[in-house]
């Protein structure tokens, strides 16, 4: 059996396979870079945005003149119907309630708004008495579990509880911020976390993250989630949440040796100043306006704590990627740890492939607990267990919906999603890009070299991505090897003009001339199930076809191909195309 031809064949296959895996690995890496650059560029926009008056009016605290007791009385008057099958809370909370919440959420139930308001009220009352920096000790407990960003991914929280046990006096937990936004179950997560906070006040701890901030929530999905789940009481819940978030502690220190904050530090970080400021005055990241210098400086201390990222080279520079906080080098870490006699900094804020990462010679740990954050299969989640020896032990996991999970499929899925986002970004900057391309193409041939193309794209988008490597996925090459620079807008252009044409066709056919709603939605790209219902009702009334609500719901659910609760504009059009076809067949 061991003849030389078998040997040669085996080596050949192995050689080929390793090359194939390497190419997958490269694709995975640049997919990662794409997700990260777009994510941070988006956050940066948000930080630099100043608040439009419209939105501030909605959540203006001055609107509400009731005092705390009056508010509580108001919540208690909210009726909970007998038909409500979800968890019921009574205060003070006990482990019975946390169990009810967990099992209720596993069955996709929603907590009644009355209980939400009462829970938030009690949480705010409790948090008001917390200091800015919580001091913990491992003397009385064996181990404390530290978790990072969850971002609304309830499955990850449930997986952590499954692997590591529920929070209790014997099993203390610290959650290091960013409980909300992006994922669809942010509300459920904070309900669970706050409930445990009230049941085990000495052994459940929460640090504030940069997403515990209603300006971030407006953009990254939490506000939308609340308004969708709580149509009547949504605004009130959001207002109360604003207060609760502002009272969350901003740092935790374990055994006077381990500092835990959501983002990081800067060379200005002063723990004494941070301990003394009125943290709740820092409501959100929009800190412009009339403030004293002192107040501004203390706000900046908090921003540094919640937004900074470590970097590998020495020094401390403004975090241009995020638009707030700093990049802090190993020297900054060393100086701070030495100044306060600490030995370790644990932080979160950045997604890591393996759920955690060490840097600064092991003195900084990043812990991230939302697996599959960018896309199915993109990364694992992890948590840390810390005992009296203060040696961190890492535990990883990944929520998987598919049973066979090979590298190829996970890379392909993630890559498709990343490239789609990137193409959309290119399209959004079309005018500037074409101007930059034409600058290199004096003879108007429609082609430029790969080098010129790469520099032009980077000069407009500022995403610092490996454009040469990505080139083949974004643009066509001419026969001479040069880039056909208009081809990167081609597919998108066609897509959009088809959308435009179809929308008009449908509307004209149905006799509706104002397709405002459709074009609005196409700008955003998504229609909520509610908007779909309203649109359909409009159409059906023009068609003189009575359609009952249930039928509309069924239709909505069947159109929602990816089952995420909203209908992609493409899905919407597909549905209409099918209906239109059937219509004309019958006629």
């Amino acid at each position: 059996m061991h003849c030389s031809s078998t040997l040669k064949a085996a080596i050949l296959i192995q050689q080929w396979f390793r090359r194939y895996m390497a190419r997958l690995e490269i694709r995975r890496r640049y997919t990662w870079s794409i997700f990260q650059s777009i994510e941070y560029a988006g956050e940066q926009d948000q930080l630099q945005l100043s608040l439009p008056d419209l939105i501030s009016h909605v959540l203006d605290p001055n609107n509400d003149f009731m005092n705390e007791e009056a508010k509580l009385a108001k919540y208690e008057k909210i009726e909970v119907p007998d038909s409500y099958a979800g968890p019921r809370l009574s205060f003070p909370l006990t482990v019975v309630h946390t169990n009810a919440l967990l099992s209720g959420f596993k069955q996709q139930q929603t907590l009644h708004p009355r209980y939400v308001l009462q829970l938030l009220h009690e949480t705010k009352k409790f948090l008001k008495h917390m200091p800015n920096i919580i001091h913990l000790s491992t003397t009385y407990t064996r181990q404390i579990t530290v978790c990072g960003d969850l971002h609304g991914k309830l499955d990850d929280l449930l997986l952590i509880f499954y692997k590591n046990g529920l929070p209790s006096d014997e099993n203390p937990y610290l959650f290091n911020g960013d409980f909300v936004d992006r994922g669809k179950k942010s509300m459920e997560i904070i309900i669970i976390l706050f409930a445990f906070l009230l049941v085990y006040p000495n052994n459940m701890h929460l640090n504030r993250g940069n997403h515990e901030d209603y300006i971030m929530n407006l953009r990254y999905g939490f506000t939308k989630e609340v308004m969708q789940k709580y149509k009547t009481h949504g605004r009130e819940i959001l207002q109360l949440l604003q207060d609760v978030f502002s009272f969350l502690p901003i740092a935790t220190i374990i055994d006077n040796k381990v500092l835990i904050v959501h983002g990081g530090i800067s060379d200005f970080t002063d723990l004494d100043v941070l301990a003394s400021i009125e943290r709740h005055k820092y409501v959100d990241c929009n800190i412009q306006g009339n403030r004293t210098i002192d107040l501004l400086l203390s706000f900046l201390q908090i921003v540094d704590l919640l937004w900074s990222d470590p970097k590998n080279q020495n020094g401390c520079i403004p975090n241009s990627f995020r638009g707030g906080g700093c990049y802090f080098g190993p020297d900054v870490t060393l100086r701070l740890l030495k100044k306060y006699n600490l030995q370790l900094l644990i932080r979160s804020h950045e997604c890591k492939q393996d759920g955690y990462e060490l840097c600064h010679d092991g003195k900084v740990i990043t812990i991230f607990s939302a697996s599959n954050y960018y896309e199915e299969g993109s990364n694992r989640g992890a948590y840390i267990k810390l005992g009296p020896d203060l040696v961190p032990r890492f535990f990883q996991y990944q929520v998987t919906k598919v049973s066979c999970f090979c590298f190829l499929h996970s890379v392909t899925a993630a890559e498709g999603s990343a490239l789609k986002s990137l193409r959309e970004k290119l399209y959004a900057h079309k005018t500037d890009l074409i101007a930059a391309f034409k600058d290199c193409d004096k003879n108007n041939t429609g082609r430029i070299s790969t080098s010129d193309w790469a520099s032009a794209v980077e000069s407009v988008l500022h995403l610092d991505l490996p454009w040469r490597t990505l080139r083949s996925r974004l643009v066509k090459l001419g026969p001479d090897g040069n880039v056909d620079y208009l081809s990167c807008f081609e597919d998108l252009q066609i897509e959009r003009s088809i959308k435009e044409v179809r929308a008009r066709d449908i509307c004209i056919h149905l006799g509706i001339h104002n397709y405002h709603m459709l074009t609005c939605s196409s700008f955003v790209g998504l229609i909520s199930i509610e908007e779909f219902r309203q649109t359909w009702k409009l159409f059906s009334s023009h068609l003189h076809i009575p359609i009952d609500d249930e039928a509309i719901d069924d239709l909505a659910r069947s159109i929602d191909y990816n089952k995420d609760g909203s209908i992609d504009f493409n899905e919407f059009l597909e549905a209409f195309r099918v209906v239109h076809k059937l219509d004309s067949k019958e006629n």
């Binding site: 050949l12 080279q313 066979c404 090979c406 040469r468």
Partner: protein
């Protein structure tokens, strides 16, 4: 003559930029060094298909006398440029790959049993790690028949590659 040299220079310049791009993806510290364990991936991503033995030879050329675990860009660039200019370690064409599978399929059944492939890949040549073996099996094994239809597998893999 001058024109030919210009073309050659332009080609070398393009090759340099390609190598830099690939290198930068793994240069996490932004200091023009990469972990030596990632060199294989970088070289393969540039279109080359060396065996493990050939990879060792390349590393011997570019590593420092006292290996630090890191590879400097200044040493990587000239070696890699030569490799690309000389078109060494070219990728294996689909038909050659298919022939290799056929050699392993001694009974000429048209398919391989997972145990057979595992034995060959883990014991012969430059053996796979367990991770590599699992990865290959997860994509190659037909879930219904529990065999590796290697012709289909090779065709599928050829399509996936951009």
């Amino acid at each position: 003559m001058a024109e030919e040299r210009e073309i050659a220079e332009a080609m070398i310049s393009e090759i340099h930029k390609k190598i830099t791009d690939a290198f930068d993806v793994f240069d996490h510290e932004y200091n023009k060094t990469v972990d030596v364990r990632e060199i294989g991936t970088i070289i393969r991503s540039l279109g080359c298909c060396p065996s493990e033995g050939e990879l060792h030879d390349i590393l011997a050329e570019i590593e420092d006398e006292e290996p630090t675990g890191y590879i400097n860009f200044d040493r990587f660039l000239p070696t890699m440029t030569k490799v690309l200019m000389e078109r060494r370690y070219r990728p294996i064409p689909e038909d050659v790959l298919l022939q290799a599978f056929e050699v392993l399929d001694q009974e000429k059944k048209g398919y391989l049993m997972p145990e057979q492939l595992t034995k060959f890949m883990s014991e012969e040549g430059e053996p796979f790690t367990q991770e590599e073996m699992e990865e290959m099996l997860s994509a190659a094994v037909d879930p219904d028949k529990n065999v590796i239809l290697y012709k289909d597998y090779v065709t599928m893999m050829a399509v996936e590659a951009p």
